[in-house]
Structures are given as structure tokens and as C-alpha cells.
């Protein structure tokens, strides 16, 4: 018999009446912690399910950002430094070994030392670093590994792909967490609008190969483009799925955290199972539910909806879709065949791993192969196939995070959904979402310890400030020269700016000037006699 479910926005599927979208309380909060050396650690706390208590822990540290304030209270000269996604401890040796095993698409355990100091997923003041590392890895792959036989090639490619996906999973998970801050009242008191948008833009850009090279001045534009694309995708898929549900005689239920409708469920009325309603599976990715014997025997979750005419219908869930996906909603859970989406994902990955890893074909080295695959992908994408691996990963990771954070869903239903979603994981480096609460708390404790350690974060920050002054005061050629001198003297010579107090003052001036210049460069109207204040965006 059906359990009473709760998703606020599903409250009543009354035909002709709107489904109430509950105004839920904020699901996240931000805490500010002073850090010695003139900085602040901003930590986002939210709700996550716990494996052991089977309930949602409401105050789990999810993500931390370091803000370098130069020790004052003026926000005009602040600089954001690092982002830590606290739910992501470093992988174990076993996980790394599994990640290097070709065609191994399952998780590899979670016995982790989550108390180790977490490493930041992103350095906001030097985002290009990760691009250089990635490029170096690609060159090494091409030169050293690809030419040494199929075993080494496929193992290294497999590991690199898994490691890259793992990083992106956490970047996107961080992005999903941050997106909830936008709706938070008084968030401006903790994170200014430019700060919030620059973190989000950097996280999103970091998922792109060369995204780390984008200038700070273009971050607002990057944010807007990304936000526009995201909102367009969500709205497009919401509407597409609603219309497909209508045409196929199904029930459509969008839901998400706060007012963001990021996921949707399709249901079928139990009474309709025996009807011969026409069914078109295009863009839905599920088989015809009418007359499906599996649904007639469905015994787990159902819910009741009330129609305007006074009738009540029992609904059976069919599928869960992510709406944050380009072109068409991404099927994440097929209730009649939970493993089907994972099988499809494994097949896609196996095809890529076989061609690039085992056979050693490269699109860029084999033009007929490039032309063939491009044409095939184009036609498939045109018909709505989810070809983009990063987009699939994004949809999966964000849905997983949002579902986990949503305290409004009934615990049983959420657990069921998360289990089904977790089954989709194909990356050995990935962790079970039900362990994340434990990881996050331990990681946060380790980070605080590092922040308070006089030889810890404070020293690292001074080093970063020094480098920042160099960037402002020396051109690229000079910086290369100084770096070369350090390399040639085996580190004996290290260029350092003047006394800390002097260059701190200079840094303050540089940061302020950079902001004003960025505002003027955009052509924003600046009233006479006013060169700051409301002219700044």
C-alpha cells in the first residue's frame, strides 16, 4: 500500500488548480570565522542525510571560502582566495587503484581518512594553475603513456578521466550548494553580489579545459551567460516535460529547493494502466507504461491526488528527470528499470574507453574518425540524445546534492530516490552520499585547525599576497624572469616584495583601482563627481 509522501510542490495534483509551491524556510546558512593574518573563512552549512540516523542532519558544513580582507572591514579591497568542498575527502589508495582499472565502473569503498586537511578544489586568486596542471597531464599522456601499449594507455586514461570527473563532480556540487545562497535573505551581509557571482563563475569555468584562464574582468559576463543558460535550460525542460506528460496522459511534478524547480517526476494513475492511451517515448526515455505488468504489481511508493471533480486517484512514480540539462531533461531514475540509466552511461563510457584507451584512436589524429563521430553526435543531439558527458555529470551531481539538501522531502522517499541515484555512480573515486555528513564534519574540523595554526593558512596567505603584488607591479615578462631566476638558483633566490606593511598598503590601492577600472570599462553611467559607490556593479 502506498506511503504518504511529501514533496511540497506535489501536495495536490488537482486538475485545474495550481499545485502549491511551498515557501520553504532557507535550507542553508553562512557562518563567518575570523582567520589570523587578516582573513575570514565563510562556511556554508546545510542539510544532508545521515547513513546511521536515517534522518537529515540540518547543520552540516558543506563548503568553505577564504576571503582575504587585508585585516580591515572595508569590502572594497577584499579578495577571495580558496574554495573547499568539505564533502569531498581525498580518495584512498584502493579507490585510486580502482580508478586506474579500465572498464571498472563501480564505487570502490569509502574507508577514508576524512580527518586529513582538505585540499581546496579551486584557487580563486590563481585559477589558471589547474589549467597548467591539466595541460601538463595531457602532454604526459600523449608523449609518455599513449605510445607505450594499450594496457598503460587505457589504465592512465581511465585514471585521468575518473580523476577529472571526480574533481568536476565536486566543483559542480559546490556550485549547486552556492546556488542556494542567492535566495538567502541578507546574504549580502556575508557575501557581496560580486563575490557570490565570481565564485560561481569560477567554479563553472573550472569545469572547462581552459576556463581557468578567463580574466577576472569577464567573470560577471561569464556568470550571466551561465545563469542565463541554466535558467533557460530549466524552463525549457520544465515545459518540455509538462507537455510530454500531457500528451502521454501522465502526471508531471516539478520540484526543487526553495523556488528553483530543478527536478521533475512523472507519475501514472493506477486506473489508467489498463487503458490503451497512445504513448510516444521520444524525449522521455522510458518504455510504454500502459499495460506494463510491473506497474500493476507496484507495491512501494504511491500517492493520492484529488481532482476538482471530487475524485481521488492513486499515482505510481515512473521516472525522475534532471531539468538542468541542455536540450532535453536527463532521465536519472527509471522506476521500472533503475539500472537502465547506469547501463546507458556505462556503455557510453565503455565505447569511449575502448576507442581512445584500447585501440588508441584519437579524434584529433584521425580526421575520418572525427568527421564520423561528429556527424553521428550531431544527428543524435539533434534528436535530443544526451551526448555531453560534462552536462550529464553536472545534472547528476547537482540533482544528487539538491535532493540530499532538501529537508522538505519525506525521509523515506528521499532515501529511496538517493539510493536509486547513487546507483548511477560509475566513478570509483566517488563516495556514497550517505557518508558525506561524516566526511564533511571531519573535513571542516581539520580545516579550522589548519586555519588557526600559525604555520598554516596564514603563511600560505602571505605567500599569495606577495604573488598578487607581483602580478600588479610586474609585467608578464618580468614575472617570468623572476621565476626563471628562482629555478636557476635552485630556490636560493626568491623575489619578495618590500616590507609587508608597505606592500599591504600598495595591494589595497591596486585592488581598489582594479575595481573602478572594471566598472568604467563596462560603460556604466557614473554621475558627475562620483567615481565609485553605485556605479560599481
Amino acid at each position: 500500500m502506498g506511503l504518504k509522501l511529501r514533496i511540497s510542490s506535489i501536495a495536490a495534483f488537482t486538475v485545474g488548480a495550481a499545485i502549491a509551491s511551498a515557501q520553504t524556510a532557507p535550507t542553508v546558512r553562512v557562518e563567518r570565522q575570523a582567520v589570523p593574518g587578516g582573513a575570514e573563512l565563510l562556511t556554508v552549512f546545510g542539510s544532508l542525510p545521515d547513513r546511521y540516523t536515517k534522518t537529515a542532519e540540518t547543520d552540516v558544513p558543506l563548503l568553505s571560502v577564504l576571503r582575504d580582507t587585508l585585516g580591515d572591514k572595508d569590502p572594497e579591497n577584499d579578495q577571495l582566495r580558496y574554495v573547499w568542498v568539505l564533502t569531498a575527502p581525498r580518495p584512498t589508495l584502493l579507490q585510486r587503484a580502482a580508478a586506474a582499472t579500465p572498464f571498472y565502473y563501480w564505487r570502490a569503498g569509502a574507508a577514508k581518512d576524512s580527518g586529513r586537511r582538505p585540499s581546496p578544489v579551486l584557487n580563486l586568486s590563481a585559477p589558471g594553475e589547474t589549467v597548467w596542471k591539466s595541460l601538463a597531464g595531457s602532454v604526459a599522456q600523449l608523449v609518455a603513456f599513449d605510445t607505450n601499449g594499450a594496457v598503460l594507455r587505457s589504465a592512465t586514461r581511465s585514471y585521468r578521466n575518473n580523476a577529472r570527473d571526480h574533481r568536476q563532480l565536486h566543483l559542480l556540487s559546490g556550485l549547486a550548494t552556492l546556488s542556494q545562497l542567492e535566495d538567502l535573505p541578507n546574504i549580502q551581509n556575508v557575501l557581496t553580489e560580486p563575490e557570490l557571482l565570481s565564485i560561481q563563475a569560477r567554479l563553472a569555468l573550472s569545469a572547462r579545459t581552459f576556463g581557468g584562464f578567463v580574466s577576472d574582468a569577464n567573470l560577471p559576463l561569464a556568470y550571466i551567460k551561465q545563469r542565463t543558460k541554466t535558467t533557460e535550460d530549466r524552463a525549457h525542460n520544465w515545459e518540455l516535460l509538462r507537455q510530454r506528460a500531457e500528451a502521454n496522459g501522465l502526471y508531471f511534478e516539478p520540484f526543487g529547493l526553495s523556488d528553483s524547480l530543478t527536478q521533475a517526476l512523472l507519475w501514472i494513475a493506477k486506473d489508467d494502466l489498463d487503458s490503451n492511451h497512445p504513448f510516444d517515448s521520444q524525449l522521455l526515455g522510458i518504455s510504454n507504461p500502459y499495460g506494463d505488468a510491473r506497474l500493476k504489481k507496484h507495491a512501494s511508493y504511491t500517492k493520492l491526488v484529488h481532482h476538482e471533480q471530487g475524485t481521488t486517484r492513486e499515482l505510481i512514480p515512473l521516472a525522475l528527470y534532471a531539468l538542468d540539462h541542455p536540450k532535453a531533461p536527463l532521465l536519472l531514475v527509471d522506476y521500472r528499470n533503475t539500472r537502465a540509466p547506469k547501463k546507458r552511461e556505462m556503455l557510453r563510457r565503455a565505447a569511449v574507453d575502448t576507442v581512445a584507451g584500447v585501440i588508441g584512436y584519437s579524434k584529433w589524429a584521425d580526421w575520418p574518425y572525427l568527421a564520423g563521430t561528429s556527424a553521428w553526435d550531431f544527428v543524435r543531439a539533434r534528436h535530443g540524445a544526451p551526448n555531453d558527458r560534462l552536462a550529464r555529470l553536472k545534472a547528476y551531481s547537482q540533482t544528487r546534492r539538491w535532493l540530499a539538501m532538501d529537508p522538505e522531502i519525506s525521509p523515506d522517499f528521499r532515501e529511496d530516490l538517493l539510493h536509486r541515484l547513487d546507483a548511477l555512480g560509475t566513478n570509483p573515486l566517488e563516495d556514497n552520499i550517505f557518508d558525506e555528513t561524516r566526511f564533511a564534519k571531519a573535513q571542516y574540523a581539520a580545516l579550522l585547525q589548519y586555519a588557526m595554526d600559525p604555520d598554516g593558512l596564514e603563511v600560505k596567505m602571505l605567500h599569495d599576497r606577495n604573488a598578487e603584488v607581483r602580478r600588479y607591479e610586474h609585467n608578464l615578462g618580468a614575472r617570468i624572469g623572476l621565476r626563471t631566476a628562482t629555478l636557476f638558483t635552485l630556490g636560493i633566490y626568491k623575489h619578495r616584495e618590500d616590507d609587508t606593511a608597505i606592500w599591504s598598503a600598495r595591494l589595497d590601492q591596486h585592488r581598489r583601482a582594479a575595481r573602478l577600472s572594471a566598472a568604467a570599462g563596462k560603460g556604466v553611467y557614473i554621475p558627475t563627481g562620483q567615481t565609485d559607490g553605485n556605479a560599481l556593479r
Binding site: G16, A17, A18, I19, L221, T228, T231, G249, Y525
Partner: protein, 800 residues
């Protein structure tokens, strides 16, 4: 250094604006140059919201606030006249005449030739082959002899950007946009753009802006415009406040750059800058606009099983065919067609114009042609025999006789039009074609082409094609009228020889729309007791007015959105029948029947004064019916809530109920209702559906009419090409009709500074006002001048 330079430039402009405020007002009508920024779909509400200081004192649109709100004229209540749709609205504003264009795509009922006003790909791609010299909207306006604002300026004194009503092509701008895409910015910026996402349209806009700024420096150029569709595009796709605001902020900086360019130009003191939009946008941050596919519905058995013509593929993005840039006609075949299965290419029976999406123009094939085709098919294909054959044949001849006068009148008019067309072709051919060399020379000199020789060729080709299509239709209809009993021997003729292919034929009456034949009944042909054909039981009919109102959906998941996609349907009603039915209204012209469902009906009665002023009366009614003979049955009823346009219950209307039921001229109506939910819809409906005095070539334009105008409910849309959840327009809702008109100018232009005009005006006032500013008023323009801008000329205008 760079920063200091930029700051100084901004400070200079701001100082100019502040000082300018203090200047005394010079004599008006001294505008020598017009610079018009045309923004498709920009709602006035957006500017009201962001060009004023917010709670924190921050002005998001600083340039627009400074230039127009503080130093120019701010029209608080400027509205689209007619439906809030781009092609009609721009055409009305640009010509100052009543609507010639009534949709974004229109079809000739007899030949189904399409006028696809928004599709610029065929224009650009076929221009070199001399197929088109202008965008289709301009071609139509030329054909009926209505000039644009642009045409008031000689070719070498104007610069027109890319837009819907484009005359000729500026190849130079296009070439430069491609070249400068990669050369006009530093490599690092190009790299960043690659990572963030390239936009081709941005390069065209940037190139256009450079051309605008360059032309500002040339004192000989007296007309410059810049068109952008970015806001409309974004707002259709997303209702996100930030995404929409970003587009408007970009517009604000563009306005600032152009204003700077004007200040540095030789004609700065005599240049007027105008910011104008064609319509608003019904977009809400908290509601998605829900789509309903009328194509699917009309394809379905419930909708009649029609083969439907649209100008684009439904769900374009999911089809390879959707990539065809030249498409202007797509037939979506019905799988449930009763009598035309597999014949969608020859016999589409519905045309739809859905663009804008909050309304649909639906054209159905002449009901009599449906009946005749069904009967002919029975006779020639099913080989029925005996009494049934006799009955069917008699029924066919009976219908043909019944329709003969109407068909004959139609053919007579078509023949007259053909005669006129042939004369025009002959005259045109006798004119010497423009010397291509001259056009080439201009092109070489200025990177643009006046297009005269292309225009000459294109016009000739188009007219010849029209002549051929008309002749073909006439020939088939003549054969149909000539059919006699003896002609029905098997194999004597093919269906397509007597039933015109790809044609809707004449307009349907309201009776036809309520008894529309969509096929044979489930029992097929039935005989009446007297041996004749039992019409009632032989044909399946659909009452479209009822069926459309009855459409409802199951998945309606948003608060305050109705589960019924259709708001109301508007149809034109013949004046003679109306006068007979209502008796007391003797001087009435054609009226409009509004039907929002059972018990939700109203009539709009219209008449014109001797001076040409339109007057309208709103009449609540119920049980409107038309008999087969064309007589109307109308019952007047009490004025109550729920009737179309919601005049009764709208608190924003500052007039008593009794006043609303009386005759008033359009100015009085506009003043009374413009702030209501349906705004100036009562005038818009008359503009959209009825003939207006002085309308050019009414016979030709009548061929483009559809049968029904169906309006979507609030936050519903009829888009089928893709999905437009962000917002839509084309309805009569104030959100969609409330548009932008702002003026500012140099110190000799006489344009008032800091003037806010609260009085409502609509699109017909745009051109007369602009020409008045230039001291070139034209008496034959239809709309009133915005008098508040000219306090010295118009005694009624309030003094500043």
C-alpha cells in the same frame, strides 16, 4: 591612464546632461537628424523599475535615467495598437497608417502564398539572385503603396540597421561584422569569449553600432536607426530577472555610447534620440508561460484531423529539417484525417500563425469546399451505386448551386485583380529598369546597395508568380462551377482539377465555423427517408468556437494559471446582419464577436464619424448564433463579471459601468481603460479585425484574412516551434501592449527636458510626432501628435 580617460569622458557627458537641464527651451520643430534605437519587445515596466533609484538608491539604468527621464520626454503610457506582435506593430509605427500587416506570417487564402515577415534568411540568401530586395513586410507595404518613415529620407541620407522592415541590405556591415569579429578586440578578450561562449549576433550588433557611430560623424546622414531583438529573445526563453536585467543594462550602456557619439557629432544640437519598442512582454519571475500545441489539437480527431500549415517546423530543435533556413511553409500531416489521409501536401486545410504566441490566427478551408470534396471523392473514388449515388450527386449539385453566387462573385473579383495585376506587370516592364551600374557604384562607394535594380526584378518576378497562381485557382474554380451531372462518369476528371490544391478558398461564415465539416460520419453516407442525402448524419462536424473554449489540460502545476489555454475567440461580424439583428443600431459598421465560453460573450460595435474618428460600443450578450441563411440571433444580457476583456470587474478602470456600455470614441476609451488588465484591447481588436478608413488595397489585404483570432489565457502560449516558458506577447494584456517611447535631443531640437507624459498614446502617434518634431507634419497620417511635447503649437497641451 585608460581608466582616467574613460572617467573623464563619462564625467563630461554627465556634466553635459546636468548643464543641459538648466538651458531655456528653444523653439520646437528643429530636429534635423533622427537617431532611433528600436528595441523589440521591451516593456515600459522594466524601465520604470530599473531607471529609477531602488530602495538602496541605486539606479541600474543610469544612462536611460539621465538622458530620457531627467533630460528628455518619458512616455508613461505608450501602447501597441492592435495585437502586441512585432511585424504588425513596427509596420503601424513606421507608416503611421492603420494596419496593413496583421500577423508575423500571413497566407493568401486562394494560393497559400506566404508572407513570412520575420524570416530574414531567404532575404539574405536569395538577394544575390534578385529574388528579394527588401524584407517581405516592406515588399507588401510597397505593393499597397504605404511608405515607411525611412522613405522620407533620400537613400544617401539614411542608415538603417538590420530589422524586420528592412529595405535593402548593408553588405558592408555584415562583412565588417565577420571580419571584425576576430580583429576588433584583443586576443585575450577573444579567448575569454571563446570560453564563456561565442555569440554571432553580438558581432553583428557591434558592427552595427560602429556603423551608427561612424554615420553620426557624417552631417549628411539625417536618419539613423539601430534595431535590437536581444531583450525579446531572452525574455521568451527565461523569466529570470537577472538574465533579463543584464540585457537591459547592456542596452543602457549602448544608449550611453550612442548619446556620447551624438554629443561629439556635428549635428549634436539638432539631433533627436528616440528609444522605442514595438510591444511589451508578459513575463513574470514566478510563473512559467505554459504552451499548448494547437497544431497537435487540430491534427487530432477532436480538432478535426486537419493537415496544418505553419511557417516553421513544430519542435524545430529536435528535427534535422528544422535546420532549413529557407523554410516558410511546413505542413504537419494528421494521422486522423477522415477524408484526406496521405494528401497533406495537396490539401492542407488549416493555416496557423502562432508567432508571439499569446494568440493564434486560424484560417480554415472554405467549409463548402470540404463538403464538395468529400462528395466528389465518394462519387469518383468509392464507386457508390444506386440510390446512394443519386443522393450524393444531388447533394453535390445542391451545394454547388447554393455556393454558386458566392463563388462567382469571388471569381469575378479575382479576375478584376488579375486584370489590374497584368496592367501593373506591363507598366512595370515598360519602365526602364534601374541602371545596375549606378547601384554598383554606390555599393562600391559606401559598402551598401540601394537595391533598386534587384527590387525591380524581384517585383516583376513576384507579380508574375502571383498571376500564375491566381490564374490556376480561377481555372480550377471555373471547372468546379461548370460541373454537371453528366461529368461524373468514372475517370472523367481528377479531384485536383475541380478542387483547388493548396488553397483555403473564401472566408467561412460564423455558421460554418460552428458546423464545420471535417469528414464523413462514422456511419459514412446516410440516406434520409425521402431518398436524399441525410446531411446531419452523413458528415462529422465540429463547432470550433465551443471546441476551442472547451480545451483544458491535466498538468497545470502553477498557482493562478488557468487549466484552460484559450481565453477568448474574436471574430468579425458582418455589419448588415448585425444591423438586422440589433435593429436600433442603424449606422453601425462591421462588429466583433468575442466568445470566452458559454455565458461569456460580448459584441464590439463600431462606427466612424464623418471626420474618420472610430467609436466603439461594448455590448454584453449571450447565445450568439448564426443561421445557415446568415441571420444572427443575439440576446442582450446584464453586464457582469467574466465577460471577455473583463471590463466589469477591473478596478483599474476609472469609469462607471453605465459609461462602459455606451458609445465612445477611441480617445475616450483609451483614457478610460488603458491601465486595465486588457489595456487598450478594445481598440486593438477593432484595429486588428476590422477595415479602417483609408486602408490601402482592401481587396488585396482581404485575401490575407483568417477566420478566427484565438487569444491565450494569462501565462499560456501557443508556441509550437519550441518552448517559450520565459514570457510571450501578442495578446491584448497590458503586460504585452505597454511599450516604450522616450525622446531626448540637443538644445536646438525643442524636445522638452524632464517631461513625463501620463496621457496614454498608441503606436499611431509615433510617426506624426516624429515628423512634427522635424517640422514636417503630414495631414494624411492617422494618429494624433503627442501634444504635450509641443506646448506652444497645441493649445490643449499642458504647459510645462
Amino acid at each position: 591612464m585608460l581608466f582616467a580617460k574613460r572617467t573623464a569622458r563619462f564625467a563630461f557627458c554627465a556634466a553635459f546632461l546636468v548643464l543641459g537641464t538648466a538651458n531655456a527651451q528653444p523653439a520646437p520643430n528643429n530636429v534635423e537628424r533622427l537617431v532611433i534605437i528600436k528595441v523589440d519587445g521591451l516593456p515600459q515596466g522594466v524601465l520604470d523599475r530599473y531607471a529609477q533609484p531602488d530602495a538602496g538608491g541605486r539606479v541600474r539604468l543610469g544612462w536611460i535615467n539621465e538622458i530620457f527621464a531627467r533630460n528628455g520626454v518619458w512616455m508613461e503610457n505608450f501602447y501597441t495598437r492592435g495585437i502586441s506582435l512585432s511585424a504588425p506593430s513596427w509596420s503601424l509605427m513606421e507608416t503611421g497608417q492603420h494596419l496593413v500587416i496583421h500577423g508575423n506570417v500571413e497566407y493568401d487564402r486562394y494560393t497559400l502564398r506566404s508572407w513570412d515577415y520575420l524570416n530574414f534568411f531567404p532575404f539574405y540568401l536569395t538577394y544575390p539572385a534578385s529574388k528579394h530586395a527588401d524584407m517581405p513586410g516592406v515588399e507588401l507595404l510597397d505593393q499597397v503603396g504605404v511608405p515607411l518613415l525611412l522613405d522620407r529620407f533620400p537613400f544617401d541620407q539614411r542608415y538603417q540597421s538590420f530589422q524586420l522592415l528592412q529595405r535593402g541590405i548593408w553588405w558592408g556591415t555584415l562583412q565588417r561584422s565577420l571580419r571584425q569579429r576576430f580583429t576588433a578586440q584583443p586576443l585575450k578578450e577573444l579567448f575569454d569569449e571563446w570560453q564563456i561562449g561565442f555569440s554571432f549576433s553580438k558581432s553583428v550588433y557591434q558592427s552595427t553600432e560602429r556603423d551608427v557611430l561612424r554615420n553620426l560623424k557624417n552631417p549628411n546622414i539625417k536618419y539613423i536607426d539601430y534595431f535590437t531583438g536581444e531583450y525579446d529573445h531572452t525574455a521568451h526563453l527565461t523569466n529570470d530577472r537577472v538574465a533579463q536585467l543584464h540585457v537591459v543594462e547592456e542596452l543602457d550602456t549602448l544608449v550611453g555610447r550612442i548619446w556620447q557619439g551624438i554629443q561629439e557629432s556635428p549635428l549634436a544640437d539638432r539631433t533627436a534620440l528616440i528609444l522605442v519598442s514595438d510591444h511589451g512582454m508578459n513575463t513574470s519571475e514566478s510563473v512559467y508561460s505554459q504552451g499548448y500545441s494547437l497544431v497537435d489539437w487540430l491534427n487530432s480527431g477532436a480538432g478535426g484531423g486537419h493537415h496544418v500549415i505553419t511557417n516553421r517546423h513544430p519542435l524545430t530543435e529536435f528535427k534535422l529539417k528544422g535546420l532549413d533556413p529557407l523554410v516558410s511553409e511546413v505542413v504537419t500531416a494528421s494521422k486522423e484525417s477522415s477524408y484526406l489521409p496521405g494528401r497533406s501536401a495537396e490539401y492542407p486545410t488549416v493555416v496557423l500563425d502562432l508567432d508571439g504566441n499569446e494568440r493564434a490566427n486560424i484560417g480554415l478551408r472554405d467549409n463548402a469546399l470540404n463538403q464538395l470534396q468529400i462528395l466528389v471523392q465518394e462519387l469518383t473514388q468509392k464507386k457508390i451505386t444506386g440510390p446512394m449515388r443519386v443522393a450524393v450527386l444531388q447533394a453535390f449539385l445542391q451545394i454547388l448551386e447554393r455556393e454558386r453566387p458566392r463563388f462567382a462573385a469571388q471569381l469575378a473579383e479575382l479576375r478584376e485583380q488579375l486584370t489590374d495585376l497584368r496592367r501593373a506587370i506591363q507598366d512595370h516592364a515598360n519602365e526602364a529598369p534601374p541602371v545596375a551600374k549606378r547601384a554598383k557604384k554606390i555599393k562600391a562607394e559606401k559598402g551598401r546597395d540601394s537595391g533598386e535594380s534587384v527590387r525591380w526584378n524581384a517585383r516583376l518576378d513576384r507579380w508574375k508568380a502571383e498571376e500564375r497562381a491566381d490564374m490556376e485557382y480561377v481555372a480550377v474554380m471555373e471547372r468546379l462551377l461548370a460541373l454537371a451531372e453528366t461529368d461524373f462518369d468514372p475517370g472523367k476528371f481528377k479531384i485536383e482539377e475541380v478542387i483547388p490544391r493548396k488553397s483555403l478558398g473564401g472566408l467561412n461564415s460564423i455558421y460554418d465555423l460552428q458546423h464545420y465539416v471535417v469528414g464523413t460520419s462514422a456511419e459514412c453516407m446516410q440516406l434520409a427517408p425521402d431518398g436524399s442525402l441525410d446531411f446531419a448524419h452523413s458528415f462529422r462536424t465540429v463547432d470550433y468556437l465551443q471546441a476551442l473554449s472547451d480545451i483544458s489540460v491535466r498538468n497545470n502545476v502553477q498557482k493562478n494559471v488557468s487549466n484552460k489555454p484559450v481565453d477568448f475567440i474574436a471574430l468579425r461580424v458582418d455589419r448588415a446582419a448585425l444591423a438586422r439583428a440589433l435593429r436600433e443600431e442603424s449606422d453601425m459598421e462591421d462588429g466583433i464577436w468575442l466568445r470566452g465560453g458559454n455565458g461569456k460573450e460580448a459584441l464590439l460595435l463600431t462606427r466612424h464619424s464623418s471626420s474618420g474618428t472610430l467609436s466603439i460600443r461594448y455590448l454584453p450578450i449571450e447565445g450568439f448564433k448564426e443561421t445557415a441563411s446568415g441571420e444572427l440571433r443575439i440576446q442582450k444580457c446584464d453586464f457582469s463579471a467574466g465577460a471577455p476583456l473583463q471590463l466589469f470587474e477591473d478596478d483599474a478602470i476609472q469609469a462607471p459601468h453605465e459609461w462602459l456600455l455606451e458609445w465612445h470614441d477611441e480617445r475616450e476609451w483609451l483614457n478610460a481603460v488603458h491601465r486595465s488588465k486588457y489595456s487598450n484591447g478594445i481598440i486593438g481588436l477593432a484595429e486588428q479585425l476590422l477595415d479602417q478608413p483609408g486602408q490601402p488595397e482592401p481587396r488585396r489585404l482581404a485575401r490575407l484574412r483568417t477566420d478566427m483570432l484565438v487569444f491565450a489565457n494569462d501565462h499560456w502560449n501557443f508556441n509550437v516551434r519550441g518552448f517559450n516558458p520565459g514570457g510571450n506577447h501578442a495578446s491584448l494584456f497590458r503586460a504585452s501592449t505597454h511599450s516604450v517611447l522616450l525622446f531626448a535631443g540637443g538644445k536646438e531640437t525643442g524636445i522638452p527636458k524632464g517631461l513625463k507624459v501620463a496621457a496614454p498614446y498608441d503606436g499611431l502617434s509615433f510617426l506624426p510626432t516624429v515628423l512634427q518634431m522635424m517640422g514636417r507634419p503630414e495631414a494624411e497620417l492617422r494618429g494624433p501628435v503627442i501634444e504635450e511635447m509641443f506646448p506652444k503649437q497645441f493649445a490643449t497641451a499642458p504647459q510645462q
